[in-house]
């Protein structure tokens, strides 16, 4: 990205890249030297009222650590990638913009009808989730387009102007425009947008055919509404952040992490705000893609285990598996995003006996406050962290580098009172049961995420990160017969590191909606070329040279009577062919891979065509260290008594002191400031060239 390579790296003496990830509790900063691959990291407290303050705090911590002024650090930055949960929080906490809707006459309630669906089959007392747009602000305009794009009834502009005026009057901050069949004939939506802003109204406008140009009015409406709901708030935040960074000496434009694992420049990220709503776990998945490359794993499962939940994603051939339909906070979002399964099982998950007296862990979590009983902040219920402390896996004095001293007596009391005594079992048995049930739940989560997509977990590498993963990953892997576990040394800031492995990415889409037999290759070529030209133009505007732009083309196909589509990649030379026989073959093959059969002779349809254009950022390479001696003794810090179905004294190693080549057999513990890894009996661990712990599970 030429224009980001501004001169004047001050006296830092090198060019750096910065990744910043704002989480619920901490803001993580990763700084990478471009020349030598050196890494500096810092964690600052997240500042919820204005998260940009926490970002600057974290950057200042790194500057302090390398003993340079912040201005010098920022001046040396060529690339700044930022992941934020601002958009996510606006949606989850229902604190987004006040919305208004203009829609086709007869259809103002589409959003509230919810396609007739409801989660949780047996829970009939669940409150109805209030629609993002109040009914009083959902207005109809006289117009109608048919399924084939024909205009049945022209747009009544006078009526439209009156509706717009009344929404403006009502204090609407963001306007959603969603008309039936607008993906076939977008002119009415475009005209309404022009009318809305004609009289100087500066509302954020979200058009359904721009956000999602395909069939399905509920999908377009819901996605466009989320876009408008979070757009203004996200814009305010990003603009403020950019100003703060500029003022502090930055000479770069912020790139914003998207739910796909790609990034977008600020202005585009603001216009397509819905694209960052599901971006929270994307950094972890991108780090998974990085480690899949580093460890040459064709199939890798990431398992990010934090305080309240565990996020699972699947990386196939170096790329995270995506989905195009998601549900967040009872709202449907149809935008490409990495497919991440979230389980309610983390370090803070509460263990309890249910009404039938059976042990259960999660999904309720003690969170950061009051937190596990051992935090001594008022929590009294036993959590997974408490169980791990009782078992000796965590040391009272070394948690978070000793900044938070854990209260072992409080953990024991909680486990004994809530679990051990009512079940009439020993304290250690109870704690071990909590630990093991957690392993089992995570294993079942991974099984569902892999098997459901036709992957065999036995072929996968398991990448464990997040503060709580290290104690559970080997047991989880063994449950699934996964032979190899990797725990990176930077486990606690891996998400921010993953940002630096991203590319700038634009997704564009066109509705086709035609049976294979009705498609003319020449016309298809034209459509696809137009999408690709648009994507390339945007990337050139972002500062990319043609040589650094890569385009990927895909069809979404389905059988006529089916609802779900299957992705069929289009190889570059295919479109030069005269016929589409290849499409019939490739669709059948893709369908069979997923479903183990196909339907020869059945009419198949191309629903949409998609083009993903990527502007390649410089590839991320972690520093490699030369292989040294296998003897891990220099990294040993002592021994600890732990419960492994009986008390045993086992060795403890310092993660940071383990260097390439050192190897040892379990049982052992490996500790760093932010994580602890349990290598159980029968497993073998070795440190690889990047400082990751690689554990053979049997």
């Amino acid at each position: 990205m030429a224009e980001h390579n501004a001169p004047g790296f001050g006296n830092l003496g090198l060019v750096i890249r910065i990744g910043v990830d704002i989480g619920g509790t901490f803001t993580d900063v990763v700084v990478l030297g471009e020349d030598d691959g050196r890494l500096w990291t810092a964690k600052a407290m997240t500042t919820p009222t204005d998260p940009s303050i926490g970002v600057l705090d974290g950057l200042a911590l790194v500057a302090e650590r390398i003993d340079r002024p912040l201005r010098t650090l920022l001046g040396a930055c060529s690339l700044f990638i930022h992941g934020t949960t601002v958009a996510t929080n606006l949606l989850v906490e229902r604190k987004g913009a006040r919305l208004g809707l203009l829609t086709t006459e007869g259809f103002r309630d589409v959003m509230e009808l919810r396609e007739g669906t409801k989660p949780r089959r047996y829970d009939l007392r669940m409150p109805f989730p209030a629609p993002l747009i109040a009914r009083r602000h959902r207005l109809e305009v006289p117009e109608r387009v048919r399924y084939d794009g024909r205009i049945e009834r022209p747009l009544d502009e006078a009526a439209a102007a009156a509706r717009i005026a009344s929404l403006r009057e009502a204090g609407v901050e963001a306007l959603v425009i969603c008309l039936l069949h607008a993906h076939r004939h977008p002119a009415h939506e475009d005209r309404l947008a022009a009318l809305a802003t004609a009289n100087g109204w500066r509302a954020y406008v979200s058009l359904s055919h721009r956000v999602l140009p395909r069939e399905g009015e509920y999908d377009r409406l819901s996605t466009a509404a989320v876009n408008a709901y979070v757009g203004p708030g996200l814009a305010r935040y990003l603009e403020r952040l950019q100003e703060r960074l500029d003022a502090a000496g930055g000479q770069f434009k912020v790139l914003v992490m998207q739910s796909t694992g790609g990034v977008l420049p600020l202005a585009e990220a603001t216009a397509f705000a819905v694209g960052s709503v599901l971006s929270g776990p994307a950094g972890g998945a991108m780090a998974g893609a990085l480690f899949a490359r580093l460890t040459a794993a064709p199939l890798l499962v990431t398992c990010d285990m934090g305080g309240t939940s565990t996020d699972i994603s699947v990386i196939e051939h170096g790329a995270p598996v995506e989905r195009h339909e998601h549900e967040m906070s009872d709202v449907k979002i149809c935008a490409p995003a990495i497919d991440i399964a979230a389980l309610g099982a983390g370090g803070g998950s509460i263990a309890r006996l249910d009404s039938g007296g059976l042990l259960e862990v999660g999904p309720e979590s003690a969170g950061a406050a009051p937190g596990p009983a051992c935090y001594g902040r008022g929590g009294t219920l036993p959590t997974v962290t408490d169980a791990n402390l009782v078992l000796g896996y965590l040391a009272p004095g070394s948690f978070l580098g000793g900044r938070l001293r854990l209260d072992r007596a409080a953990a024991e009391h909680a486990v004994r009172t809530a679990i051990a005594a009512p079940l009439a079992i020993g304290l250690e048995d109870a704690a071990y049961a909590i630990h093991t049930l957690t392993n089992s739940r995570i294993a079942e989560g991974i099984r569902a995420a892999t098997v459901r997509r036709g992957y065999d977990p036995r072929d996968a590498v398991l990448l464990g990160f997040g503060g709580a993963a290290g104690l559970h990953m080997v047991a989880v892997a063994r449950d699934l017969s996964i032979p190899r576990v990797v725990v990176p040394n930077h486990a606690s800031v891996l998400s921010a590191l993953g940002f630096l492995a991203s590319d700038v990415r634009h997704d564009s889409l066109a509705a086709i909606g035609q049976p294979f037999a009705a498609l003319a290759p020449a016309a298809l070529r034209k459509t696809i070329d137009a999408l690709e030209t648009e994507g390339r133009a945007r990337l050139r505007a972002d500062g990319f040279a043609d040589a650094d732009i890569v385009a990927q083309r895909l069809f979404d196909c389905r059988y006529l009577r089916q609802a779900y589509t299957v992705e069929v990649p289009i190889a570059p030379d295919r479109l030069a062919e005269d016929g589409l026989d290849w499409l019939t073959r490739d669709f059948a093959a893709a369908y069979e891979r997923l479903y183990f059969h196909s339907h020869p002779g059945e009419t198949a349809v191309v629903e949409t065509v998609r083009v993903v254009t990527s502007g390649k950022l410089p590839p991320l390479d972690l520093p490699t260290h030369p292989r040294g001696a296998a003897d891990p003794t220099p990294a040993a810090t002592g021994t600890r008594r732990v419960w492994l179905e009986g008390w045993h004294e086992i060795p403890v190693f310092a993660f940071d002191a383990l260097v390439h080549g050192m190897a040892f057999a379990g049982p052992a513990l490996v500790e760093s400031e932010s994580t602890t890894v349990l290598v159980p009996d029968g497993a073998r661990a070795a440190t690889d060239a990047h400082g990751s712990l690689v554990i053979g599970t049997r």
Partner: protein, 549 residues
């Protein structure tokens, strides 16, 4: 110290999760490998794990009504082949007089052996797109005998010692209108039971079959204890509830289901003896379906998070009268039981509970009104379009207003409706509007959810035929504790020839180009005195036009 006849608490907790995830994996397998849209899109299927006695231990949370009924089917199969079940055998059945709900629901069950004896059963059920009978699609509204409704499969062995009986498979699929789809769907069910058995064997290897047996017993006991605790929280007494079907489509009106519910200490008896005699109409509910309705009604009413397995059925005793609509004898037709009569049975039981569990009540839901239009599409191909977008409102509960457009209590919110745009691009229809139906929800301290208004203009070149199989035109969703009844379904056909109202079970109604079918669906029932509704909520209802007066 802990009692050694009980499983280790850790093993128990792990095994309970494993059983549930194995059931989910079976369902996933069926969804991924089945052929028919009703399975791979609408997910009208389920999977369960039973112990050696056929008691349901775990279920994939899918169609509630399947869940309560599966144990009957599995036990009927076990009885039919008692002493003659071998490793690798797979049993099949769909007969309502052998523990089924209705003929389209086909159940497969496979035993899990360990040490030469049966330790568990895995089973699944899928609603087939067609099962033969008088009319396509499995619902033969004009049936007067079960023989009109399709092929009856009493318990049979679909596989013997690991070999699938291809002859039997052919016999079954050739008796349906879509043999290729049915073959694909049955193979998906076969694949799923194999997945279940493989996963269960791995569990035996890890924990031992005896420990799994102890876990099974404890899992059932835990759910039973939770359900008994729930009954203890309800007020003991003898209570009566009645609900009526609109009609049977053959001239009989207001057909009653009467439930006498006796709550004593920690258990209940539900006596349905006083319900109507069986009819020569598809509304009869075979015993398994009836029992499932009673169980599901109590599972809905319960405020506890007890696991959903057969243990929670134990404190519930059900009494029916042979020859009644709740326990018919062959050859009474039954195909409408699962979607029409089910609702009425649940309503009767829940209404009886109003005095016993006033705060836990759930007001009435819109009943099912389903119709199909058969004709030729724009390219001249035959199609059958099933109407199910506009479901009607859900009933209110003590704290919450009912959901709009959720409909039918036997499977609330289960299947996603197709979009208006897809409907228009695939069928010769113009949807003129699909919107909420103001004032349709029953008033109350909490109000019923709104129904909808769906206007469908028929644009086909040739006339089409409409067949309806519905309920709730005469009987509206009930209110609770002074809450008002919800509006009834009101379906009309507007045409150049005039306007006519659509009956609940009309068949062969001719539709011509330009005719508009106007579907106003029912609203849910209200809960509590309407005058006690929070004035802010009343004002908001008016401002948003949910209520216009």
């Amino acid at each position: 110290m802990r009692n050694l006849s009980r499983p280790h608490p850790l093993t128990l907790a792990v095994v309970r999760h494993k059983l549930k995830s194995v059931a989910e994996e079976m369902v996933d397998t069926m969804i991924r490998t089945s052929f028919s849209p009703i399975l791979n899109q609408s997910h009208d299927l389920s999977a369960v794990i039973h112990d050696a006695e056929g008691r349901m231990l775990a279920q994939a949370e899918r169609v509630p009504i399947h869940m309560g009924a599966m144990p009957f089917a599995v036990k009927a199969m076990m009885r039919a082949f008692a002493g003659d079940v071998h490793e690798g055998d797979i049993l099949i059945a769909n007969d309502p007089y052998w523990g089924g709900n209705h003929l389209p629901d086909v159940t497969l069950a496979m035993p899990v052996f360990d040490g030469g004896q049966i330790r568990l059963w895995v089973a699944n059920r899928a609603h087939q797109g067609d099962i033969g009978g008088m009319s396509a699609g499995g619902f033969s509204g004009n049936a007067s005998e079960i023989f009109h409704e399709g092929i009856r499969i009493p318990p049979c062995k679909l596989a013997e010692r690991g070999r699938v009986r291809e002859d039997l498979l052919r016999l079954i699929v050739e008796n349906t209108r879509k043999p290729e789809d049915m073959m694909g769907d049955l193979r998906a069910q076969l694949a799923a039971v194999h997945v279940g058995v493989d996963r269960m064997r791995a569990l035996f290897d890890r924990y031992g079959a005896d420990e799994i047996d102890r876990c099974s017993a404890a899992i059932l006991d835990a759910a039973e204890a939770a359900m008994r605790a729930q009954f203890r929280r309800w007020t003991p007494g003898v209570y009566r509830g009645e609900s009526v079907l609109d009609d049977d489509g053959r001239g009989n009106q207001r057909i009653p289901v009467r439930a006498t519910v006796t709550i004593e200490d920690d258990h209940a008896t539900v006596d349905l003896t006083d319900s109507a005699d069986q009819l020569a109409s598809f509304v009869n509910s075979p015993y398994a379906n009836t029992a499932a309705c009673v169980y599901v009604a109590f599972m809905y009413m319960a405020t506890d998070d007890q696991t959903h397995n057969e243990g929670c059925f134990r404190p519930i005793r059900i009494i029916t009268r042979t020859g009644s609509i709740c326990d018919p004898v062959s050859p009474a037709p039954v195909v409408g039981s699962s979607v029409l009569t089910s609702t009425v049975i649940m309503e009767a039981v829940m209404k009886a509970m109003e005095k016993a569990a006033p705060r836990d009540m759930i007001a009435g839901y819109a009943r099912r009104f389903r119709f199909a239009i058969a004709g030729k599409d724009r390219e001249g191909r035959s199609y059958i379009w099933h109407y199910f977008a506009n479901r009607g409102g859900a009933g209110a509960t003590a704290e919450t207003d009912g959901w709009p457009n959720l409909g039918v209590i036997h499977n609330p919110g289960g299947a996603r409706s197709p979009s208006v745009e897809r409907t228009e691009s695939s069928f010769p229809f113009l949807i003129e509007s699909f919107a909420l139906r103001p004032d349709s929800g029953g008033a109350g301290t909490t109000r019923g959810g709104l129904g909808g208004v769906y206007r469908l203009r028929y644009e086909g070149a040739e006339p089409a035929v409409l067949n309806a199989a519905g309920e709730g035109v005469e009987v509206g969703p009930y209110g609770v504790a002074g809450g008002a009844i919800g509006a009834c379904h009101d379906y009309r056909i507007e045409s150049a020839r005039g306007e006519r109202r659509l009956g609940t079970k009309e068949s062969g109604v001719a539709i011509e180009t330009g005719d508009v079918v106007v579907c106003r669906s029912a609203g849910g029932g209200g809960f509590g005195d309407p005058d006690r509704r929070d004035p802010a909520r009343t004002a908001a209802d008016r401002a948003d036009g949910y209520v216009t007066h």
